[in-house]
Assembly symmetry: C2
Homo-oligomer: 227 residues x 2
């Protein structure tokens, strides 16, 4: 492929929509410019470049210009379209995070077993979590950055509530697979004491036990993303 | 949109296929270069340009580079993909030719009524043509050029044949609509006395009569194209 610009491709698609695959379609550079949101000069330059590289044929009669797309130009568009389509349809839709198991502060066990939360867990994620959360330290910057996106992604919302004494913040849950085997949920807390390098997981089971994990164990967490 | 090159888009699709929509994926410029069929230097330059324009984020740790696609970068691909797809799916698939009616040399009437042809016309295009062909002179270069493609396009083949005296060439037929109303066939002859500026049509009916046409009448011929 040559150094075609995306703008060239847009110009070609514009031409094709006017029938230029099979016909010489009359064209003015000012109308072409408008339809690709560029100046008339830019549109004119595109046509010259596309002709030079064999993507279109131009015919001048007087001041009228007609343009037809060559088989090469059409092929280029079909090729690009199918590469784009297949990649956009098939890319892996998950976030993978890696880190090591660290101790929590014991708070998770307390909060997660409050009735205001457990009732919602039961109905919204299908189980009451084992008391306690699994804390995972992300050592590498790429995982810390990748984990940030869950702040803005949509998950299952466990609403906050209040009792006589205080209010408790919401919890957002994302289905997660730990070490390729253990079902769990990544939880994002409205209020957390952790910095961004630590993520928390909950599960129906005692993950430490069934996964034979101890502090320092290497963990891989894969979280599917809806797209 | 910026002046993104098609190569940049290919780089982005390559990254997305590795999961870079949601994750920072480790990448070497030499492997990236290979997969987009460019040099390592070109791949490296693409990454810098894509980062500068906000299409990717890069993370360096030591000599390791990880790359994640930004929402802007992803949107750009989705946008381009849908523009391409909709235009490639929906463009008008016909050739439109314009010209004026001229006199033929009377030969058409003779040839088209030979039994070796009429039998095939009947079975392959569904009718025996009115004796005589309609000759249309294409005055403008764009129509002359556009008409040329029927030499290579696939149409309905009426085979040549021979009698005791001589052989007769094949005739290739394309369904055509004349002046938006009259059904006819554009015919391409293996042997023709015409230059490329004259095309010939046949029809079940006497086109001159039912179309109230005379020499010099302006004609528009639309020929659907299978794609």
């Amino acid at each position: 492929m040559t150094e075609l610009k995306v703008q060239h491709i847009l110009t070609l698609t514009q031409l094709i929509s006017k029938g230029a695959k099979h016909n010489f379609v009359p064209i003015t550079t000012s109308s072409l410019g408008k339809s690709i949101q560029k100046s008339q000069q830019a549109a004119s330059k595109h046509l010259l470049e596309l002709e030079r590289d064999g993507f279109i044929e131009r015919l001048m009669s007087g001041r009228k210009v007609s343009v037809k797309i060559t088989p090469k130009g059409y092929d280029e568009m079909v090729k690009l379209s199918s590469i784009l389509k297949s990649n956009l349809d098939s890319f892996p839709s998950f976030v993978e995070l890696k880190g090591t198991l660290v101790s929590g502060m014991g708070e998770g066990a307390y909060y997660m077993s409050l009735k205001g939360y457990t009732k919602q867990f039961k109905s919204k994620i299908g189980y009451v979590p084992f008391p306690g959360t699994l804390n995972v330290k992300l050592h590498q910057k790429e995982y810390v950055e990748a984990a940030q996106q869950f702040n803005t992604l949509e998950g299952i919302m466990i609403d906050g509530f209040s009792d006589d004494k205080r209010t408790y913040g919401w919890v957002k849950c994302f289905k997660a697979k730990l070490n390729n085997s253990i079902n769990s949920e990544l939880i994002i807390l409205e209020r957390t004491h952790h910095d961004t390098t630590v993520i928390e997981l909950i599960s129906k089971q005692n993950i430490r036990k069934i996964g034979k994990l101890k502090n320092g164990s290497h963990l891989t967490i894969r979280i599917p993303i809806k797209t």
